[in-house]
């Protein structure tokens, strides 16, 4: 496998961006500003990791970028499409055609087989999967002999790989993965992360991955750090060590206050 050095981010097209996004949950006293002026651009063809302490707004950011949730102010764009201008139905169709998802758990419909789960976004649109592409995906994901199994008959790692297959089957512009390895042991986690990286490097996909694991983040081309609903830092070509170091720096003031 050839490892291509990531080019400078400025020269890359932007797959998605959040501009000054604010999102508040609850009202009055209990109001929580989950996103507080978040500003980020996701580069095309790369694996971007979003890191931050628990409750820092990682999931909220991803949901806003994916059009799964509305925002209070700011802008969200997928490519050139302004999400805030779309109707509910248009957002659904956009998700179906241009976005892919991998969640931490419960990624699959229990009553559908692995193959059917992979093909789901296409069949929902009344289309059939491209055979060659399906075969390639299945081959890469190592799911060859598991296609007729239902989720309950698959291991956690296999289930997450099926979910990745589903996220990629429609050749989306952008894939979101919210803690995809959260429920996996380290061996299965590493395999999945390797696969996500390959999907960007060899297949040219754009992937945004939420994680709080420095090792997972080190698979990314770029790490964006989030704290209190704001982007506070970023790191290119991360290693577990550099990520940890940044994390420690982020945590320091917080723990100082807490102490």
């Amino acid at each position: 496998m050839t490892t291509v050095a990531p080019p400078a981010s400025t020269s890359l097209a932007v797959a998605a961006q959040a501009r000054d996004v604010v999102k508040t949950y609850g009202q009055g006293e209990a109001a929580v500003r989950a996103l507080d002026g978040a500003d980020v651009a996701i580069d095309s063809g790369r694996l971007t990791a979003i890191m931050g302490p628990s409750g820092s707004g990682k999931s909220t950011l991803v949901h806003a970028l994916a059009g799964l949730d509305t925002i209070d102010s700011g802008r969200v764009l997928i490519g050139d499409t302004e999400l805030t201008a779309l109707s509910e139905r248009e957002r659904t169709l956009l998700r179906r055609e241009r976005l892919g998802f991998v969640f931490q758990a419960f990624n699959l419909i229990p009553s559908l087989t692995a193959a059917e789960n992979i093909a789901l976004p296409l069949t929902l649109a009344g289309k059939r999967p491209d055979r060659a592409w399906l075969a390639e995906l299945v081959e890469m994901l190592g799911l060859g002999n598991r296609l007729d199994h239902r989720p309950a008959e698959l291991s956690g790692g296999q289930q997450q790989r099926v979910a990745v297959g589903r996220a990629l089957i429609a050749r989306p512009d952008l894939v979101f993965a919210d803690e995809p390895t959260g429920n996996l042991d380290s061996r299965h986690g590493a395999a999945l992360l390797g696969f996500l990286r390959d999907a960007t490097r060899t297949l040219g996909h754009t992937i945004v991955m939420v994680t709080h694991d420095p090792v997972a983040a080190s698979y990314a081309d770029r790490v964006v750090f989030l704290a209190d609903g704001r982007i506070v830092d970023e790191l290119s070509a991360p290693t577990p060590e550099t990520v940890l170091a940044r994390m420690a720096r982020l945590d320091a003031p917080a723990s100082a206050i807490g102490a």
Partner: protein, 842 residues
Amino acid sequence: MWRLAVKNAVAHRSRLTLTWLAVALGVAFVAGSLVLTDTSSRLLDAQFRTAAAGVDLTVRAAAAFGSAMGVEVERDPLPAHLAERVAGTPGVGQARAVASGPGQLQVRGEPVRPNGPTIVGTWAEAPFTAYELRTGRAPDGGDEVVLDAATAAAHDIAIGDTVTVSATVSRRLEVVGLTGVGEDDGLSDSAVVMVDLGTAQALLDLGTGVTSVDVIAAPDVAVAELRSDLAQALGQEYAVTSGQDAAEASAEAAKESISYLRVVLLALAAAGLLVGAFLIANTFGIVLSQRSRELALLRAAGATGRQVFASVLAEALLIGITGAAGGTAAGVGAAYGLRGLAQRTGLALPDGPLTVTSRTVLVALVAGALVTLLAALGPARRAARVAPVEAMRLAEPARPRPRRRRLITGWVLLALGVAQLGAAAYLRDIAGVALGAVLLFLGLVALGPVLAPRLANAVGRPLDGLGVPGRLARESTVRNPRRTAATAMALALGLALISFVSVLGGSVKAISAGQQEALTADLLIQSAGDEMLGGLSPEVAARVAELPEVGATSSIRYGHWLDGGMTSALTAVDPATLPQVADVEMTAGDLGDLEEGGAVLAEDIAIERGLRVGDQLAMTLPRHGEQQVRIVGVMADESAQALSSGYILSLTTYAQHFNEDVDASVFVALADGVDAEAGRTALETAVSDFPNAEVLDQTHAVAARAATVDQALGLITLLLGFAVVIALLGITNTLALSIVERTREIGLLRAVGMTRRQLRSMIRAEAVLVAVVAVVAGVAVGLGLAAATLVGLSKDELLPIRIPVGQLLAVVGIAVLAGLAAGLLPARRAARLDVLTAIATR
């Protein structure tokens, strides 16, 4: 545990709402039926009491029995001088001769047809009756009449108008007054026609006779004493009853039909409750399985299985009692609705304020609570078995597989049921058919979780055409066998009863059409009044016989008799003329021998009772009590069916034993060369002043009978529709609950691109699929049971089995559409689910 139960019920109130509603609806039906029938009885009592108020004693001719099948028997007329004799008896204050009987009223050529009887009576005011003049004056002389104000108002009759009153004889009379009883303007469902004694005697063709003598005791005389004195003085021939007793007897007769109505209504209400029980069991099952982790926590914290069990039952009891309370309250409204429905199908039920007895409330509450408790028993037992370790388990609890023992029991019951149905039908054993039906039902309940998903899988194939939503709809229906089974079973039960009733109705119509085949008469005349024994004046037959267009006529009459305590029907015929209007096939003896007395039996009855020509049959007849009647012949079954009963006397014998002087039907054969239309016109003209005489040809006669059957069926089907509504609530409820359960799955589907529209169509497809499963199962079972019942009821020859295809298709169509409607609400709710709450990991 009780506090926990209350808390749970309150916390899960939205999930339990529809269950509560199901209990309430079922109970409302029960309470409504009781309230309606109680009310009708009380109102009838009150009416007859008010009408007889003031009269202490009534003297009538003695009779072997006072009423049968809701019809009071007509007694011998009393000699005119009896009134004087009574008046002369010591202790009697006043006595009054009364002539009264059934009749008809015609206004401006249009018959007045109340749901109940038209009563021709003798005018009297207080102290003898509670009738009071509202306007005008009392009738005096042969051409004056007083009508009840209600009838007058309904038909726009004013004082000075002329009306035609007919009993045995028909007369045109001038309305001189309008009357009311107590506070009412008339008797409900009846028309009251009051004339003076002489006119009443003339109309009823009593000569100088009277029908009863009303007595008011002298002051200071005890009524009970006077009663025995009077009975002693008058002798065995006469019956002396207290005025209130007589009123009560009349009321009893009128109430008999209400007791049939009560049985039918309560049976239908029970069906509604049974359907509700499925819904309740299902809801508890689902809610508890959704709460199994919470239950496990309770167990882990030290609650015993028994405590969990008790808390679930307590929750059920709470819902049962509150639902039943709501239902009882709603039952009063339901009673109004039921009364309207029943009246529309021609049942004579009095209007008036409703009576709610403490028994009604008690029965309704107990029924509601008991059904809910019993239905929750299974889910409660399963809840008690939840192991404490399940609290620690991350994964969803495994779906319970149907247990082996249950499967075996189910298959055995099903096989026994089918075998029993077949054998009982073959042996013509109707009770056996009922037993088979119960076994079959139990077997289906036990096997539901196995059969329903398979059926759903099979009939759901076409849904795959809808793409992923259709496919998923089928999958999720199959995935929850117990749930699908219970939901579908409830609806299937209602639909099975409806298809059963409609096949039975279709066959009854075919049978009644077949019965006419033995008749060769061109035309027949019947009373339009639907009186049980018919109501044609004999004058009708006499007039028709004289027409030149008519070749032959023959009248028949109906009567009731007691067969060892049981009321039975008989038909009286004219043996001389009957063969001219009907193909009478005798298998033994000779119809002509009837003229000398005796009876002819239908063949099946002769065989059943083991009677042959020459044997004796004990019949209790109204005028002279028990008689030994000689069997003079046996008639083929088809011929007897054309005459509507299996016991046939001659009109001469009938006249000796019955006072009723009305024909049920007059069969008419036209003279040679007279065309049917001309004959019909001639007949209609001849009987035009008999308002209730209806001239029919064979096709119309069949259609008229069919219409009666249709009306009764319509009412029953409508009320069964009520059970279906409860079952549909079940579909809505189950789906709504399962959506709560599938939040994450739905969220995932939405996230990866399922549109709201697709999601809605998925949920609706599930509802329709359950409905279709129910339709297939219900209609199949209903048809099977109807066939078994009809075969079981057959004698030698099989009864016709008519499947009203159009009607069944309509039922199927409505059920499927209703299934779709049942899915609307859950579908909307699912579509509104927030994608994020669904995805958010706990």
